[in-house]
Each structure stands twice: as C-alpha cells, then as structure tokens.
Amino acid sequence: MTGSTQAGVADERIKETSFIRKALIRPELGGIVGTIAVFTFFLLTAADSGMFNTQGILNWSVVSAQFMIIAVGACLLMIAGEFDLSVGSMIGFAGMLIAIFSVTLSWPVWVAILLTFAICIAIGALNGFIVIRTGLPSFIVTLAFLFILRGFTIFFPQTFERKTIIGGIKEAAEGDWLAPVFGGKIGGPIFTWLGDMGIIDVFERGTRAGEPVVDGIPMLIVWALGLVIFGHVLLTRTRFGNWIFAAGGDAEAARNSGVPVTKVKIQMFMFTAFCATVFATCQVMEFGSAGADRGLLKEFEAIIAVVIGGALLTGGYGSVIGAALGALIFGVVQQGLFFAGVESSLFRVFLGAILLGAVILNTYIRRLITGER
C-alpha cells in the first residue's frame, strides 16, 4: 500500500483494520500456526527419539513431500472451483501403467514414464471436459473415475501377470536416463562431506562403513519443492493465476470479463493428474514395484492438506504455500506419532479433528473477507 491511498476523506464508519485481522485474512495463517504448534509439540515430546536427527528429518520430509506433490495440484484445482476425487486411483493407475509398459511389455522405462504421463494427463483433461460440458459437480464425475481407474488398476495386473503387484522395475530402470529424475537422489557429495566432517551420522560397520546414513536428497523432495514454487508463482504472480481465482470465485462473472474459464478449469484438472503421476512415478521408482492398492485415500488427504492450508472448499480463495504447510503438518504428525510411540491409528483421529477445525476457521475467515454477517 502507498501513503497516497489515504489522501481522501476517511469514512468514519470504517474502523482501522487491526494487524491481527489483516493477518487473519491471509490464507496461509492456519498453516503457519499449525506448523509452529506441531513442531513445538514434537520438539517437546519426541526430541530424544531421533525424530530430529538426519534420518528422522529425512523420514518425515519424504512423507510430507509426498503429500505436498498431490496437495499442490488439489490446491490449484480447488481454487479454480473444482475437486478431483480420482487422485488416489490415478496414483495407483499411473504406477501400474509404468509397470506394465516397462516390465510386462519390456519397453524402455523412459518410454513407459512419458507414455504414462500422456495417458494420465489425457484422463485429467477428460475429467475436466465432462465436468464443464455436462455442468455436473466435479465431485460426482471424479468419483466415477475413482472407481473406474481403481478397477483398471486391479484388472490389468491380474489379466497380464496373474498377480496384483508387479515388481522388477528397479532392474528395468537400470541405466535409464529418465528414471533417476524421479527415483534418484541429489547432493550425494555434500552428504559424504558432511559425514566425513562428522556433522551427520555415518555407518559404523558393514559394507557401507564410513558412508553417510543419509546419502542424498530424494528427487521426490526436489519435485515437491519445485511444484510448490511453481504453483505459488503461477497463482500469485501471473495472469493465469488471476484467472484461476476468477474461475473459482464466480465462473459467470469471470466469463463476462473475458476470462477463458473452460480452458483454465480443464488445464487445472490436467495439472492435478500430472501431480498424481509424478507422485506415482517417484513411488514406483523408489519401491521398484507397482501395487493395485497404491494411493488409496490420497485424494482425501490432498484435500485435507489444502483445506488446512486455508483454501475454501467453494473455490476462489486459497494458497499453495498454505497447502504445502498443510502437507508438512500431515507428514510431521504422521511420522511424529510413530517416533513418540503413540498408537498410529490415532493419526486418523487427529486428521478428522484438524479438518473440522480448519473448515470452521476458514468459514469464519470467509465472512471476514466478504463482509457477510
């Protein structure tokens, strides 16, 4: 804001906005407060459990990064006013496609990956196209795809391989140029150096004695951070970002103002599918196998992360940074409960509780912004 904005006569009925109120209408607020709370809690209760040494940090970072990758897609799509409930099934489906192309059909892994991306993004576009054309809620259309894709994910491996898990992808990916982009690690020399300097733990004995326990940052984390930065810049710093907000805020008003709403929404469905495929590819490359049950419930976890991050379920409002913090809270709590020795089923209780709290807070914030009473 500039000083000149106060040039005119101030309206005596408008109270000075307090700093707190201003901070409250930032979508990221819930995420920031939650992150601080969660870290404080686990620093107090689980500090000596190894949660905050190098392996511990890597452990919850990887889990958080997984959530982040799908949360970025879900976030942009939700701000554009739509949902995608087929994300979890898409993860299973994409992984299975890679396995079938590379193992069953013995195609090069890079061909399998690129082809899978193309197919999944096309399915995302189909989702979007059906939603826009029929005017049906995206909830119903993508719920249909949740079942359709999951069905194929179970059907394909049973038909071709007579099993529900296809392994041997690690071997197939040996020497492939594209596979390390999803399954590799970066920063190896730095970690070796850190290990040599005694800053991080190294293996005491065995064949890898002297090597650092953590020998690099998985590409999964690089993808997560890359997508968060991309999503944030796209949303807040570009014309297209403004169109995303407009399409979700009021599609009709946006159309009247010349925003290509249909294009924006379909592209966001495609981006969500892209994110799900990145998740699946990283997972397949890490495990070396694809399973028919991969990605179960991921669509809901992505949506919860986005909502914790301050986005409104009704669209038109939200933040990628907030969604990323929501994903971080998720990852830290899920792994933190394990480190703190708490029964892991309580994680679900936590999820439900925090989701409810976040939605109530968001509704209140929405009233603040729009001045509804």
Binding site: Q6, T238, R239, N242, V259, R366, I369
Partner: protein, 260 residues
C-alpha cells in the same frame, strides 16, 4: 451535439413466433445519458443485448460511429467499445479490487522471458481510477466483498471506462441499491458522461432516470413510445407511458394473444 456514436434504426427481434422488438430506434450521442425506460417485459433487455452483440437483430440496422455494424458476438462489440455493466455477475467478492479491475485484462511485465503479472501497475491504476470516481479504497488489496453494492457498480463502471468504452450500457444499476448508494452511482454516471462517453441507462425507476438523464426513451411491448429531451417531459407523463397509462384500455383485449 456531434454525430451519434451508435444509431439503432428500426430494430426488430423475433424469437420464434414471439416479437420481442417491433421496430425500435434509439441513438446515443457522446457525452449524453440516454435513459431507456420500460416495465418488465417491455423489451429493454432484448434491446440492450442486441446493442451489445448478444443477439443479432431480425431486421433493422446498427450504425457505429457512422458505419454500418454487425456484431457476431459480445466480444466484437466490446472491442468496438461497447461495454455492458450488469447488475450482478460483474465482480468476484473474494478477490481484491485491483485483481477484479484487471480481470481478463491483466497487465504483464516480462522477467526472465516469462510474462509476470504487473501487480504494482495494476494497484496504482486501480487506486487512481477509483479516486477519479470518488471512491477511496483502504487499499488496492481490499476484497470487493467488503464494498457496498453501489461501490461495486462503480468499480465495474470505472473498469469499463478505463478499458476504452465509448458506449457504456448500464443494466438496472440502481435497482438493488439504497438511496445513498443510488446517489453515488448516479454521480458516477455523471462523471462518465463528462468524459464524452455515451451512457445507456436502463431502469424502471423514473426518478433515477430524471435525476441524471439527458434524453428518455420509453419502451412498451417491444415498441418505442417516443424519445423526449430533458425538461420536455414530466415525471407523471413518463410514469404513465411506462405503465401503459392511457393505452391500458387498448391493451387489454390483446392480452393472451401474443403471449409473453
């Protein structure tokens, strides 16, 4: 006055067997506020939709700046300089004023070969244009949802003017507003007119029309009941014309024949 910016000559519009417009002629001069009055179903909406390119007239001619015009879709009309401000569906409450102002026409700035949103420019222009219209925002990042109905109309009008409207069609801008807010919108209309823009003001409130209009055209059942200049016509007369007034007796036997 100079030549009219837009001339609508003998416009007819039929929807199937329904005659919505049966030969309406209206012209708008630069810097005038031409009020289009009429009761519900008089054909006001059909007429402005024809003017803004949503409908193609069944018969009749449109001259824009002296040249015959045929708009294929609203975008053609917008590019020619005919802007419509709808009563609803113009603003997105959750977005800031500056983001709303430039929605669909965002300014960009090239950095590293990528077109980024020029937020600073958008903010500055928004504040400047809103000040011209007499609205002092708390800041360009204020959400439109916190503005009153009248202020929202003003943002929409300021936006149309900034993006080069030569003819501004206001579709019942005051019908949902309180007295003070209506006054604000009418004063905005006056400011726009002073910039040499032709304003087409659609209303069924005679008082609002008389407060700001230069000429008044009354539509009734798809026909013009004549155009009057300011000072040549009184409130009661306009009101009677709108309601059908002395023609009511003639109309009754026709009811039901033509449908709605």
């Amino acid at each position: 006055m100079s030549d009219p910016i837009i001339q609508m000559k003998n416009i007819q519009k039929h929807f199937g067997s329904v005659i919505a417009l049966a030969g309406v002629s209206v012209d708008v001069f630069p810097g005038e506020c031409h009020c289009l009055l009429g009761d519900n179903g008089a054909g006001k909406s059909t007429f402005i939709k024809t003017m803004s390119g949503v409908h193609k007239p069944t018969a009749g001619e449109i001259f824009f700046e002296g040249k015959p015009m045929s708009f294929e879709d609203p975008r053609d009309a917008m590019e020619a300089g005919i802007a419509t401000v709808h009563q609803h569906l113009a603003m997105i409450p959750l977005m800031s004023v500056s983001r709303n102002f430039f929605m669909g026409n965002e300014p960009v700035k090239k950095k590293f070969g990528i077109n980024f949103l020029d937020q600073q420019k958008a903010d500055e222009i928004t504040m400047q244009e809103m000040r011209k219209m007499g609205i002092n925002l708390r800041g360009p990042d204020q959400a439109v949802g916190t503005l009153s109905g009248g202020e929202r109309q003003t943002v929409a009008i300021a936006r149309a003017v900034y993006f080069g409207a030569k003819v501004l069609i206001l579709d019942e801008p005051t019908s949902a507003l309180g007295v003070r807010q209506t006054a604000n919108v009418l004063s905005t209309v006056h400011k726009v007119r002073e910039q040499g823009i032709g304003v087409v003001f659609i209303t069924h409130n005679v008082r609002h029309a008389l407060a700001v209009g230069d000429r008044f055209t009354v539509l009734n059942r798809g026909q013009t009941l004549g155009t009057a200049k300011r000072g040549e016509i009184e409130y009661d007369e306009l009101h009677d014309m709108m309601a059908g007034g002395d023609e009511l007796a003639k109309l009754v036997p026709e009811l039901g024949k033509q449908g709605q």
